[in-house]
Amino acid sequence: MPIHDQGYRRYLGTRMPRGRAWAVITTAGLRTFFGRRTFLGLLLMAWLPFVVRTVQIYAAANFPQMAFIAPTAETFRQFLSQQDPFVFFVTVYVGAGLIANDRRANALQIYLSKPLTRGEYVLGKMAVLMTFLLMVTWLPAMVLLLVQVSFAGSLTFLKSNLYLFPAITLLSFVEATMVSAAMLALSSLSNNSRFVGILYAGLIFFSDALFGVLRAVTGESRLSWVSFGNNLAQLGDAMFRLPLRYSTPWPVSLLIVVALIVASGLVLEKRVRGVEVIG
């Protein structure tokens, strides 16, 4: 009977360079969610507004009597606003457990004993959520812009609205960054993803409700910055060169968004670390 060598042989192949461990975390996260039918269903639903808009653009381009529904620059801003409910659901579904589940499984102590920094870990997790959020905001909006060009058969619309590319990109990335950072910070505060999801929903609805009350009391919208969603809406209007919907100056909204991202970073810095145990 042959006796097999039980010892180790050193790996002589190439290894991924240092600093790219975040990509491993991201890839694992993306694979996990792409493997879930419920999530694929959610993604599919998130693209339904895209289908509707595509039909709109097609009809406007091919039927003169439908010219009144021809897309304008504002159409793309509206499209991104329509995606907000999907942004919410994707954020809760994907983000709530991203760190909370690792905490519950004690996985952080294993991860952080590997060649993976805390920053890379957070970046990897954030990239998972941001990827999915951009898949329901930036990606369909950009494809919609290309659809418009192809159905119109000319670059006239694009040439006169060239700012749409950076506007769509900037708004999508700002939204994805803010939402992802906030959700990850909340996720790092608990071991229970359901609790995190409820907390996130509570904060969103509470801040909206608070603004509603303040608006009713003061009779103006200057305090729109208390609502997380309103700050993004305000920035979106500014980026798309549209009249601002609230009286809050857009730099104030930008400041709130930046402050929220920084605060989330501080929470993550505090919470994502090896478990402190006296053993």
């Binding site: 192949g13 290894r15 499984a105 102590q109 294993i110 590997k114 060649p115 478990v275």
Partner: protein, 309 residues
């Protein structure tokens, strides 16, 4: 620090607010297998988390494999860590979990899968590799954690209470496995609060209690250290009262008590006492001596003695 030491700590301390986890620890861990012994709360896990780079020392320095460990993730690739607590997703299979973790060391999917399979084979979990971890027994969970610690072929393996919860047969296999890794040239730091477990793996131990290193070195050196202190001998004999009378005449006998069919003696000079006892048994003057044992003869008693001290 000796040129050979794999871990070297100088005046290492760690506080958790008002609670001290490690208190001015200075030590060197040589290559090979080293046992870290201490009761629960002694500071073993704190020390292991510091030396695997997960905790920053409050004070002092620590180098691992010749380099500072804190904020040095490149060094983590040369270390394998098996934590005491379960730390995995129960819905994943053992193979999936180990594969996912080894990818963090920079291996591609194919190589990661191969290495994970190999590591699971080494811990004798090949048969359960495709089962969900949630269905694993405690012993299997311990072994899959060990597999992830050694899968990337580290130079130093840090095992925090690896035998915890294992049944006797698996425990024996695991001890053999750890000794084999030591023979293959790996340095292993293994913690336990049960001394005979460590004794079966290595003679080189570190005793830790209340955040301080009580003793370090070869088991026999530690024995020499405690030989200066009272030593208990349990003697099961026919004529315990006659024996007791004889012992009371010895200067080195510090105390004496009776148990069922036996007399228990505490001596300040164990070597002299054993020499006299051997002579007494050989003469047969005071009847037959059935059994002579000493709780101090196993490491558990050594440890308990040092901790009490």
């Amino acid at each position: 620090m000796t040129a050979e030491s794999v871990v070297h700590a100088e005046h290492l301390s760690k506080w958790y607010g008002q609670v001290i986890g490690l208190n001015d620890v200075t030590l060197s861990v040589p290559p090979g297998i080293t046992g870290l012994l201490g009761p629960n709360g002694a500071g073993k896990s704190t020390f292991m988390k510091i030396l695997t780079g997960q905790l920053k020392p409050s004070q002092g320095t620590i180098t691992v494999l010749g380099e500072p460990i804190w904020g040095n993730p490149a060094l983590y690739a040369r270390i394998g860590f098996c934590p005491e607590q379960d730390a995995f997703y129960e819905r994943m299979t053992g193979l999936e979990w180990v594969t996912a973790l080894v990818r963090l060391n920079g291996f591609d999917d194919a190589e990661a899968g191969r290495l994970a399979g190999r590591a699971l084979e080494l811990v004798e979990l090949t048969g359960a590799a495709d089962k969900k971890i949630g269905a694993y027994s405690k012993g299997m969970r311990q072994r899959v954690k060990m597999a992830q610690a050694l899968v990337h072929d580290p130079e130093l393996i840090v095992l925090d209470e690896p035998l915890s919860g294992m049944d006797p047969i698996v425990r024996r296999k695991t001890i053999r496995m750890i000794r084999d890794w030591g023979r293959q040239g790996k340095s292993i730091l293994v913690s336990s609060h049960i001394l005979y477990e460590i004794e079966s793996m290595t003679a080189n131990i570190l005793l830790i209690n209340q955040g301080r290193i009580l003793a370090e070195g070869d088991v026999h050196q530690i024995r020499d250290l405690i030989d200066e202190h009272p030593h208990t001998v349990y003697i099961k004999a026919e004529q315990t009262r006659s024996l007791a009378r004889e012992f009371l005449a010895y200067d080195d006998v510090l105390s004496l008590k009776f148990e069922e069919g036996a007399v228990v003696v505490e001596t300040g000079r164990p070597d002299l006492f054993y020499a006299r006892l051997t002579a007494l048994a050989a003469s047969g003057e005071l009847g037959v001596i059935h059994e002579v044992t000493s709780p101090d003869d196993n490491l558990q008693a050594v440890f308990e003695y040092l901790v009490k001290a």
